[in-house]
């Protein structure tokens, strides 16, 4: 259980960072909707788990937050990437691609065999 959560936390962090990179400053709800949108219906997660992940990223200094006003005039807390966060997106993207490439090599022959 713990392991799965870790994997999820790891990928979730990257998704958040990537979202903020492309969308600029955004509040928690917006990030959640965006992630859901992009992943289609495949990912259905409690939005609640998003907030500890945001907190962690903020503690690590990759994102910063401040209170602002949303499109429909609601008070909301907006998150945005810091400079360290931008670097982290690049680094993690690279790592993720590498992992993916390696895994692909493992997976590819099997698919051919079967």
């Amino acid at each position: 259980m713990g392991d799965k959560a870790d994997v999820w936390q790891g990928t979730l962090a990257l998704m958040i960072l990537k979202t903020l990179e492309s969308m600029g400053a955004l509040h928690g709800y917006g990030i959640a909707r965006r992630i859901e949108q992009i992943s289609g219906d495949v990912l259905s997660v409690n939005y609640g788990t998003l907030y500890p992940a945001l907190l962690k990223l903020e503690q690590e200094g990759y994102i910063a937050s401040e209170w602002g006003v949303s499109d429909n005039n609601r008070k909301a807390r907006f998150y945005k990437l810091t400079r360290a966060g931008r670097k982290q997106v690049q680094r993690e993207t690279q790592e993720w691609e590498q992992t993916q490439a390696i895994l692909a090599k493992f997976l590819a022959p099997r698919e051919q065999e079967s």
Partner: protein
Amino acid sequence: MTWLRAVLARFAGMFQRTHREEELAAELESHVRMHTEDNERAGMSHEAARRDALMKLGGVEQSKEIYRDRRGLPWLETLLQDLRFGARMLRKNPGFTAVAVLTLALGIGANTAIFSLVNGILLRPLPFSQPGNLVSVTGTYPKGAFVAMREQTQSLDVATYFEGHEFNLTGRGEPVHLTGTLVSAELFMILGARTELGRPFYPGDDKVGQDNYVILRHALWEQQFGGDPAIIGKSIALEGTSREVIGVMPADFRFPSAKTQMWIPLHNDSRDTIAYWAGDFMPIIGRLRPGTSMAQARAEVRLFQQRAFQLFPWPMPVSWNADISVVPLQQDMVADVRTRLLLLLGAVSLILLIACVNVANLTLSRAATREKEIAVRTAMGADRRRIVRQLLTESVLVALIGGMFGVLLATQGLRLLKAALPADTPRLADAQIDLSVLAFTGGLAVLTGVLFGLAPALHASRAALADALTSSRGAVGNVSHRLRSGLAIAEISFAVLLVVAAGLLIRSFWALSRVDPGFRTGQILTARVTPNQAFCDDPLRCISFYRELLARMQGVPGVALAACVNTLPLGGRVAKRALDIENQPVNPGENGPLFWMNVVTPEYFGVMNIPVAAGRAFTSADATGDSAVAIVSAATARRFWGSQNAVGSHVRLSSDQEWRTVVGIVPDVRAYDLQKEVPDWLNGTIYVPYNAKGTLEGGRIPSDMSVIVQSSLDPAQVSAALRRVIAGLNPEVPASEIKPMSVVVSESTSTPASTTMLFVAFAALAVVLGVVGIYGVLAFLVSTRIREIGVRLAIGAQPRDVFWMVMKDGARFSLIGILFGLASALALTRLLAGQLYGVSPFDPLTFGAAAAVMGIATLLACYVPTRRAARVDPMVALRYE
């Protein structure tokens, strides 16, 4: 460093809680609102929209809970919470807290005090630069052999020293007798020692003719020269020789021991063949040169040792330095105290174990009363780990408080220890409560807390929920009884072990103090009267000085008799001399047997009350003339002459031409220590009269005689008279070490005395703690059985029956504990064997006495709770909860 940043952020997250909570609530609320609005826009009713938003979020409170775990440091928060709670519990039970803290403070304090000794003496590196490279060569060498070693060894730089040479400081008011250490010029450089003032000796400072230097120790400089910095470069008169003061060493430089007051270059005069090759045999220290190992140094020194035999102008016995080696200097310096310190450490760790067991038992009793509290917590959802953790936090807290008081006790204890241990214990002054000792104590306290807290905590957390909530106090589980009894038995057996050890040491010390040393110890005052050696260049001047001194002393009213001897029995000094014995030739090339040579005035045997067993004592004619006579001890006579009568046979001091006639035999006296007449490396004892022929090795008559005065007067009066007489004769001559013979004797046993005293103190502490422990257990057992006892009484049992029923329980613990204790003592007392005299480590009397002491003590401890049980009023007992 991302993680560090995160940890700091989380640490900060523990504060401003209200503000952060408000922010979180606001953020989640805005999330839910936005989501609800979106849903409504998609056509849902307000209620459905909000419910969906909440479900997607996973619940507001649940989300907050996960969020909080991430915001702060949960383990730290829990710890603080537990600590706060623990502190509150301790405040609410002042009785428990006081007893537990006091018990632990005693245990931890004793351990801290002993550990600070172990740390300062055995563990801490020597206070010299790069102490790891300092070594000791285990043999001893005369000057000539040392100089050869200094020139020849490649793997290490060597230096030598000889402590205990004595010097009169004159020309500055009343003469003072000082102890100095002769050192080779390299010594200070090898140790890497810096002077406080002036300079140390440099190589070459011990060249003959350019060696009239002296370096003072800080304390001497202060006392005798008023701390005058202008002393450097001035000359002072030591033994009539003028020496230039070139340096002052700081107060914390104590080499080879705290006894040394000054350092003087070794006089390496190779023309003086006797002194050069047969004078003091000195220890050698060295510093490994860079890149060489201990093994290389050892190999080189062994090779040198083989060559060394050829260097001597005469053949050396093959046994000389036969087992030569090179060992770390520290190991060599503290070899003697090591065993004793480790024994003491073992004893105090037993005390700490007993203290732990005691507090564990207390905690168990308290846990029984807290069963309901714990059950409620469990019911509210605390898991077992959480409960154990909280209980352990509490016990570690108790232990830490105990540890703090323990450190306070230890600072006092260390002072007492330093006073109790013999003053010549190496590095004693280095022992102090420093950071490493405090770290040790802190670690020990935490360990202690876990040790005494774990069993009760596990036990308490296991308590069945339903049972605890429904049952009354009577239903304390069997497990608890067994654990408790086991703990009581354990502490009794630890206490028995310590009592046996203390008993053996007491027996041994008693045997030692009852030893008849073979001479009178009462009504004798001793003093070392030491003219300069140069004063005795003319032996007759020296002899007549002492003779006149004795005559004047005997003229003092109240003084019965006075005499002189070069080495006072049990005085810590030995004079060795090789002898030839008539008709007992030694192999060519070997020296004759070594004897302890006592040079005495004729009154000596009278003052010391040593009767003559055969032949005659010395007469005044022997002293004034130059008659060549000798007296031997009974053991010596047996050893060398056997059944033949030694009287009338002849002996010769090696290097003498003339034979001496043995004129008498006197009984053996314990001169080396209370166990031995002579040390193992000597073969016998000989007495010669103090005349011009009574020469020591080196060919001089002794010039540092001990004067012994037999008088019924107060020692202070005798000593005043002695000082007066000496001042009248020669004001340049100092008198030192003035003390009654009985003090000399008791000082010779200061080591066993201190070990015994400490063990007795520890054993007493162990017995007290053990008694408190078994009292507590039995009192608790009685309190849990009150209702049962009430029933028994109600249906006709007599109070007497109840009394015996409970007493039997107590007696059973005590008996089992004692048996375990005796068994472990059988296995462990052999460790003490080296400290024992005249008693076997398995002495049945001691074992029996220890068992009896512990048996009586525990039964007394049982008596109070047992009486309480017998006096139970059945009506009260049956209503009891």
